[in-house]
Symmetry: C2
Subunit: 299 residues, 2 copies
């Protein structure tokens, strides 16, 4: 079967490429850690062609890529599409880069609201690739910078980014909590996470105090024992859920785009918060979104 195009998910620190046929079936794939950071300003074309050559891809096979490859520090800047953003608008604003073969970078999405400015780059393609839902749908994409998105008939209407994972790493390593989160590989403690999650959700104002209390409780031999990482994580994920409610309103159900431990942690959190969860695989979603945009661009 001859390939229809190459789809590339090219983030800050990872590269994933799939050759697909016209029906969207994956013919072969490549993965590496040659993300934006390791590519450097001139390395993008070389990395891409090395992988395509390894797959014997025809020299005129088109490429559609999403993620940080389209950021200002990437291969070329594909300017943001503004909210509300539809799949058609995202595909229509793909940037064709100066390259021997047809190669397109999908744009990110910007929310140009003075009181809630926000940006995404890469997640918009995952959102495009989710199974279509009529009406309003809340989507949570947890991570270093978790995103909560309100879709309306599949269109990106409004969203909010939370630096939860980024704050967790910084607080665990670079504040007094480094004494309480000694071992980043310590086993996850669901009970400790859940208690802290509810505290973070219900009393978000007390975050900076409750973080200190993890340390103080350890010093005094009060509260739970063991590694404090689950408690720090619980407080910060609870704060994120409280913030998502504050930004997007009441949430009864959500699509959760995650896998592995993050899926389990956010599923547990959603259950404690009374939110029904429909899980979605991030990689399936990004590939489906890339394919949908590729069909639009290459038709």
């Amino acid at each position: 079967m001859s390939p229809f195009c190459a789809l590339v998910d090219w983030g800050t620190s990872s590269f994933r490429l799939w050759l697909v046929d016209a029906a969207g079936t994956v013919l072969c794939e490549r993965r590496s850690e040659e993300g934006m950071l390791s590519a450097g300003p001139d390395g993008f074309a070389t990395i891409l062609e090395t992988h395509l050559t390894a797959l014997d891809a025809p020299s005129d096979l088109p490429v559609v890529a999403c993620g940080m490859v389209g950021a200002r520090q990437g291969w070329a800047e594909a300017p943001y599409v503004d909210t509300p953003a539809s799949m058609a608008a995202i595909a229509a604003n793909a940037l064709r880069v100066d390259h021997a073969r047809p190669a397109y970078l999908l744009p990110g999405v910007a929310q140009r609201l003075a009181e809630a400015p926000d940006v995404m780059r890469g997640e918009e393609t995952q959102l495009v690739g989710l199974p279509p839902v009529k009406g309003t749908q809340i989507v949570c994409l947890p991570g270093t910078h978790s995103k909560w998105v309100a879709l309306g008939d599949g269109r990106i209407e409004r969203f909010a980014t939370f630096i939860t994972g980024d704050l967790f790493a910084a607080a665990s390593r670079h504040t007094i909590l480094r004494h309480s989160v000694a071992d980043p590989a310590a086993p996850f403690d669901p009970e400790r996470f859940s208690a802290a999650f509810l505290a973070g959700l219900e009393r978000p104002a007390e975050l900076a105090n409750r973080l200190f209390a993890i340390r103080a409780g350890g010093l005094l031999g009060l509260g739970e024992n063991g590694d404090g990482g689950s408690a720090v994580s619980g407080l910060l994920v609870g704060l994120e859920f409280a913030g998502a409610r504050s930004r997007l309103g009441r949430i009864e159900s959500m699509t959760l785009v995650a896998s592995g431990p993050l899926l389990e942690i956010y599923r547990m959190a959603a259950e404690a918060a009374g939110i029904a969860v429909v899980p979605a695989d991030a990689e399936d979603a990004v590939r489906a979104g890339l394919l949908a945009c590729a069909r639009e661009i290459l038709s």
Copy 2:
């Protein structure tokens, strides 16, 4: 005039010593950066005697010290006194260390509540040294680990520590905000601080999102320009004030133990939050507290 005793404020990274007469008048003083961290396990006695020799202090002059010198990692551990903690209890629990001259380390204070464990070491002496107030008094001691304390007739009834300054440093240097807080010495922007302070105070749940919005607003050219440090600081101090209300109840006035830029920032914050402020000098307070305890211990 012959000295009555030596008073020492010995913290994590600083050493301050005063010789005082029986009336509490300062005869002479010494300051250095030989805090607990640089003293090492065996260095405390040597550092103390070097400073006392430089001042020609009599070899039997007693010493009363407070701060991290009395922590587990300090010269010797002066175990915590529990809340509610009076000055008499603090003085009565001073630890006499094994040393050629009489030398006492004041204990810290512990709040052994399972839902709000907390500790202080050094601040209790500042609190003892504040001008006496009848009834309830709220005291705020801002810093890396800000403390908010409810005193009742001068007794430490309840308190809450917030890792505000610690979080500010970690978030500014070790999260995506490092791109927005480029210059730690950038001039303080009162308008940007105040707007962020109110957002942090009124919408604490949105903290992790509003931190990201500082970065996104910069990328999109929305919101205020310039260094983001004042906005990060405003959000975190606002969160702290919201947390202090949540932990200690409604606050109409407070004693603010601070000096320099921190005094000005917290005074501005208190005004925006509708809290009347009585400023108090931290160094005067700790010296008065050490003197009061020394009189109790040495009488």
